[in-house]
């Protein structure tokens, strides 16, 4: 090993790394089974805590010595809570089990850990190639992903910094301190990294602009104020691998010459707040944050700020105002935060995913990063895909993959033999794209051109039973509620858009409303002060462009083609199919709208019905007697019998 003076900053780090390796070896070489459990928020919501407790109790009961290893989220939400059991003695490779509840945990402990039977019927796959069990690397949900940002998510314990270091974490620091900040910026520029917060601004350029400002009272902020109602990748990264974000943040601060950094994370993400706070403490204890990091004489202090829940605070200038203790209302730019930001000092604000991309670039080089993705959008994109797909979850793919590949290959397509109708990309700022766009490559520019937006990376896949007017109404309801109220167009304009959409979904819209929607959307786009207002009409604009027929059906026929808009639908019971004396629908109706009619068959009182659809779910499939129709007039009228009928019973 080279002496410290030849490799400055290396010696201190090597010592830390050695400690990490020793711990790792102790864990890896212990001759006992290892049970990895995903314990991010989504895993816990699915019952991972109960699963973990069940394993602990069962292991104690059977007297088995095994290690329970809590890891973050692997991104396979459909499989939560997931467990990977590595039982070397059994002769099987590590096995991935989906949906392991307490019962399954008991069973696996007894049958697999104690008796060596892996219970093939419960296996999703093996995590290594082998001859016995299909390898998950052969499944398209796994092998078409390219993990750069989320590489270690779900594999390491996020609460143990040594695991990150043993997996190669913080390795870039000694080398970085040997180079000048200019060289670091150059490398990020060469890699072509673009901001993952949505707009895709060149990260290197942003750093350069801040670095060029005089003085050293500069600040860097990690923006984890994820507010899109359907995107949760930032939370997942903070919960599953916080140190990769910190490593990027240190590089960013070093490059721009800042000694203060803030992580702005939503208070609604308690686990993420806890994990990142703990990570900062651990990194400080090892001297990777604080004064004179690794003897480089570079100081950096990192704080966590809890965002109080305002979508608009994802906007840079609003975020700054809220840290300063004011209402988070955006300000006109210029001046840009890189010139005059937090407390008037040059401030770089980067998204979680952007910062998490930095360490891999510094480690593997700009050329390596350039090989992933497309020319204009190098690297990977992370989407949270929800809605009508077989395998929802978080997916990291190289930029340039088509929507079709993503939805149909990787996510397994649309369940229940339904047809694809639309995909909504980018949340409240994004747009709804129809089937014609399925071959669009996913990158910043192509999506913007199609009228959607990379945005937050939220993606909702919708089948033929979806109403695009209702989806637009939903997003406008969100942006309208989250508008800060500062500028006229956003404050009042989005309210008008919403009321018009509400009118249409209630069947009270007119052709003039459609014209108004289009014009107002245009003006709000052009006239609003900040990004929230400028993009708020996107869901309306795109759905009006690609799904005009949906709007027209609502307006001229008072019909909802996706049968989602409740004022425009009705449920009725097909008396031909209804079975006598079955009371399933009666029992589940929350408003007692279902009544018994002649022959002890059932009818629905339309004046009471709230159209929740419970009866349709409750009706046994062998009868399948509940029908949903639009417009509501199509439902045959079944009169509620006069009182005496009840007495007959």
């Amino acid at each position: 090993m080279s002496p410290a003076d030849h490799q400055p900053f290396q010696a201190g780090f090597d010592e830390i790394r050695k400690a990490a390796a020793t711990r790792q070896r102790a864990f890896a070489e212990a001759p006992v089974p290892r049970i990895h459990i995903g314990m991010a928020t989504c895993g816990i919501a699915s019952g991972a805590l109960e699963t973990k407790a069940a394993f602990e109790q069962a292991l104690a009961r059977h007297g088995i010595d095994a290690r329970i290893h809590t890891v973050g989220c692997i991104g396979h939400c459909y499989a939560e809570p997931f467990v990977i059991i590595d039982h070397p003695e059994s002769g099987f490779p590590p096995i991935f089990y989906p949906e392991v509840n307490a019962g399954k945990a008991n069973m696996l402990t007894k049958l697999f850990l104690a008796e060596g039977d892996p219970r093939f019927e419960h296996i999703l796959g093996a995590t290594e190639e082998n001859d016995m069990i299909p390898w998950i690397g052969e499944f398209s949900r796994f092998n078409q992903e390219k993990r750069v940002v989320m590489e270690k998510c779900g594999h390491i314990d996020p609460e143990d910094i040594y695991e990150y270091i043993a997996a190669g974490g913080y390795e870039t620091l000694p080398d970085m301190f040997r180079r000048s900040p200019k060289e670091i910026i150059q490398q990020i520029n060469d890699a072509g990294l673009r901001g993952r917060g949505g707009a895709g601004f060149a990260t290197g350029l942003k750093w350069e602009l801040a670095a060029d400002q005089p003085g050293d009272a500069k600040r860097v902020i990690c923006n984890a104020d994820e507010g899109d109602p359907g995107a949760y990748m930032d939370r997942t990264i903070l919960e599953s691998n916080p140190h990769q974000v910190l490593e990027g943040l240190i590089a960013c601060a070093y490059a721009v010459g800042a000694h203060k950094a803030i992580i702005y994370v939503r208070a609604e993400y308690p686990l993420a707040v806890r994990t990142i706070t703990k990570a900062i403490r651990q990194a400080s204890e090892l001297g990777l944050i604080g004064n004179d990091i690794l003897g480089s004489s570079f100081d950096l202090d990192i704080e966590v700020f809890h965002g109080s829940g305002a979508f608009v605070c994802g906007e840079e200038t609003a975020l700054i105002r809220s840290i300063e203790g004011f209402r988070g209302m955006p300000r006109h730019r210029p001046p840009y935060p890189v010139e005059r930001g937090l407390w008037g000092t040059p401030t770089v604000i980067n998204n979680v995913k952007t910062l998490a991309s930095v360490a891999p670039i510094l480690k593997n080089g700009a050329a390596w990063y350039r090989k992933i993705g497309t020319d204009n959008s190098p690297g990977t994109a992370i989407f949270s895909i929800v809605g009508d797909v077989v395998h929802p979850g978080l997916i990291e793919i190289p930029m340039g993959v088509s929507l079709r590949t993503l939805i149909f290959d990787i996510c397994g397509g649309i369940p229940n033999k339904k047809k694809f109708k639309a995909v909504q990309i980018g949340g409240p700022s994004g747009g709804c794209l129809p089937e014609e766009f399925l071959d669009t490559p996913i990158d910043f520019d192509s999506l913007t051109e199609a009228g959607a937006m990379m945005g937050s990376g939220g993606m909702v896949v919708m089948n033929e039973d979806t109403c695009t007017v209702d989806i637009s109404r939903y997003f406008l309801d969100f942006t309208q509620k989250e508008s800060c109220g500062k500028c006229t167009f956003c404050r009042i304009g989005t309210y008008h858009l919403l009321t018009i959409l509400e009118r249409i979904t209630e069947g009270k819209g007119s052709p003039a409303d459609l014209k108004n929607l289009a014009q107002l959307s245009q003006d709000i786009k052009n006239g609003s002060l900040c990004g929230l207002g400028k993009t708020a009409p996107n869901p309306v604009v795109t759905s009006l462009r690609y799904f005009k027929e949906d709007y027209e059906a609502h307006v001229s026929e008072k019909r909802c083609p996706g049968m989602m808009c409740r004022p425009l639908i009705a449920f009725y019971i097909d008396l031909e199919k209804c079975a006598r004396g079955c009371d399933a629908c009666v029992g589940c109706c929350p408003v007692e709208a279902v009544f018994t009619t002649r022959n002890r068959k059932k009818g629905i009182d339309q004046s009471l019905c709230v159209k929740c659809g419970e009866c349709m779910v409750a009706c046994p499939p062998e009868y399948d007697a509940v029908r949903k129709v639009s417009p509501p007039e199509l439902a045959p009228i079944i009169e509620r019998p006069a009182e005496p009928l009840k007495d007959e019973k």
Binding site: C42, A45, G227, D228, A310, V460, P590, C612
Partner: protein, 173 residues
């Protein structure tokens, strides 16, 4: 904002007051201080606004203006069973609004309100990030996935029975 503080809340507020000096009093501490108070009291009573204003040497109006901007802060006490119905995109598509309506109907309150007996409150939240479990609600800290309108009644009933049981036990003691 005319809830009267009970003795316990008053003493909590006094406790908080003694802690404030160590937090510091520059303007940027406004939101952290409000968060601290809400963490202890579960809401921001009018008295608290005045305490914060005095501590930071700004007008109560200023504190109120900031507090009313953010979704996190509430001005009336939540119920013992604080129900949050997720209306994120995935939950919306799967009928989250129907779940919300069911709570409103069952509890006879509107979203954002608390029942007169302070047992329940119902709020909507933008997204709790458990989209694959949609529709989702959170009661206290517990996430309930794959909700159905018919499950709403069960939840409410269970909480009420639980309460009655506790009261009976109290009486027996």
């Amino acid at each position: 904002m005319n809830f009267v503080l009970d003795a316990q809340e008053k003493s909590l507020l006094e406790q908080i007051k003694t802690k404030l000096p160590e937090i510091g009093n520059d303007r940027s501490k406004l939101i952290p201080v409000l968060q601290l108070i809400q963490a202890k009291l579960a809401y921001l009573p009018a008295e608290a606004i005045h305490v914060v204003a005095a501590h930071l040497d700004i007008s109560p109006s200023e504190v109120y203006g900031v507090a009313t901007f953010y979704n996190q802060f509430r001005f009336h006490p939540p119920g013992k069973n604080a129900v949050k119905v997720c209306l994120g995109t995935a939950c919306h598509v799967k009928g989250g609004d129907i779940i919300l309506e069911n709570f409103e109907r069952k509890l006879e309150i509107k979203e954002g309100e608390t029942t007169a007996d302070r047992e329940f409150s119902v709020d909507r939240v933008a997204c709790v990030g458990c989209c694959a479990l949609a529709p989702v609600i959170v009661v206290g800290e517990t996430v309930h996935g794959h909700m159905q309108p018919s499950k709403v009644e069960g939840l409410v009933l269970r909480a009420r029975i639980e309460k009655e049981k506790q009261e009976r036990e109290k009486q027996q003691k």
